[in-house]
C-alpha cells in the first residue's frame, strides 16, 4: 500500500513537472508562463522529497519558488504590456523552428541513451541511506567542512549579482532629469 502511494505521488509530481514545463514554453503571456514555472518548481520539490533530499526541497520552495519567482512576477508586472510579444513562435528564418525541434529532440535522445549506456544496470542499485540523509543538519555540516570553499564562493557570486542588479536597475542622471522634466 505504501509503495503504491509513493508511485501515485511520483506520477502526479512527474506529470505536473512536465505539464507545467510545456505550459511555460507555450503560453503567450509571460505572466502565465511564470505562474506555470512556479507550479513546475513545486512539482520538482515533491520529486526531491521522494529522493530523500529534504533540505533541497525546502530550499527550492522557499528560495526558488518563493523569492526568485516572485521577483520575476514583479518585473513582469512592471513591464506590463511591453512584455507581451506578438505571435510567440514566428519571426526569424523558418528553418529555425524545425531545426530547434530537431536539436531538442536529439538532446533528449542522447541524454537518455548516454545515461543508459554508461550507467546501465547500475541505475537499479540504490544505496541505502539513513533517515537523516537529506536533512539540514547533514547539508549544513558538509557546507561548513568539506565544501566550505564552494559555500564561500557562492556567497561572493550572490554579492556580485546583487551589485549588478542595483547597477542595472538604477537610472542614470540624465534619465532622472529627463523623467523629472517629463513629469514636471
Amino acid at each position: 500500500m505504501g509503495d503504491f502511494l509513493v508511485w501515485v505521488v511520483w506520477f502526479l509530481a512527474a506529470a505536473g513537472c512536465l505539464g507545467s514545463g510545456l505550459a511555460v514554453v507555450t503560453f503567450r503571456n509571460p505572466f502565465f508562463s511564470a505562474l506555470a514555472l512556479i507550479g513546475n518548481l513545486g512539482s520538482l520539490a515533491v520529486l526531491f522529497l521522494l529522493a530523500s533530499a529534504e533540505f533541497v526541497a525546502a530550499a527550492q520552495v522557499l528560495v526558488y519558488a518563493g523569492a526568485v519567482m516572485v521577483m520575476f512576477l514583479f518585473v513582469i508586472a512592471y513591464l506590463g504590456d511591453r512584455g507581451v510579444v506578438e505571435s510567440p513562435f514566428s519571426g526569424g528564418p523558418s528553418w529555425l523552428a524545425w531545426s530547434a525541434i530537431v536539436a531538442a529532440t536529439a538532446l533528449l535522445v542522447e541524454v537518455v541513451v548516454v545515461i543508459g549506456l554508461t550507467a546501465g544496470d547500475g541505475l537499479a542499485d540504490e544505496a541505502t541511506v539513513e533517515r537523516a540523509f537529506g536533512s539540514p543538519a547533514e547539508i549544513g555540516r558538509l557546507f561548513l567542512t568539506d565544501h566550505l570553499l564552494a559555500f564561500e564562493i557562492t556567497s561572493i557570486v550572490l554579492l556580485v549579482a546583487a551589485v549588478g542588479g542595483v547597477v542595472l536597475g538604477s537610472r542614470t542622471l540624465e534619465e532622472e532629469e529627463g523623467a523629472a522634466r517629463a513629469g514636471a
Binding site: 521522494l50 533530499a53 533540505f55 521577483m71 514566428s90 540504490e126 541511506v129 564552494a150 542588479g165
Partner: protein, 102 residues
C-alpha cells in the same frame, strides 16, 4: 527504496531539459527565454539529486544548492538587463536585438 527507480527520475530530468531547450530556441520574448533557462537548470538539479540518492553521497545535493544560488544570481542580472532594455523603449524581442552583428 519505495517508488520508481532512479532511472525514472533521470528520464523526467531529460525531458524537462529538452523542453527547456526548445523553449530557449523557439520563443521570442526574452522573459520566456529566461524562464526556459530556469527549467533547464532545474532539470539539471533533478538529475543531481537523483544521483546523490543513487550513490548515497551528499555531494549532489550540495551541488544542487550551489546551482540554485547561481541561478538566482543569473535571474537577477537577466531581469535587470530586460528592465534596462524596456526602459529605453526598445521592443522586447530577441530577434530585434541584433546590433552585435558580424
Amino acid at each position: 527504496m519505495q517508488g520508481p527507480d532512479i532511472a525514472w527520475y533521470l528520464v523526467v530530468a531529460a525531458f524537462l531539459f529538452s523542453i527547456g531547450a526548445a523553449g530557449v530556441l523557439l520563443r521570442r520574448s526574452p522573459l520566456i527565454v529566461l524562464l526556459s533557462l530556469e527549467i533547464m537548470l532545474n532539470a539539471a538539479n533533478l538529475a543531481l539529486i537523483s544521483f546523490a540518492r543513487l550513490h548515497g553521497d551528499h555531494d549532489g545535493q550540495v551541488f544542487a544548492l550551489a546551482v540554485m544560488a547561481v541561478a538566482a544570481s543569473e535571474v537577477v542580472v537577466g531581469l535587470g538587463l530586460i528592465v534596462a532594455v524596456a526602459r529605453r523603449h526598445i521592443d522586447l524581442d530577441v530577434d530585434r536585438l541584433r546590433v552585435l552583428r558580424g
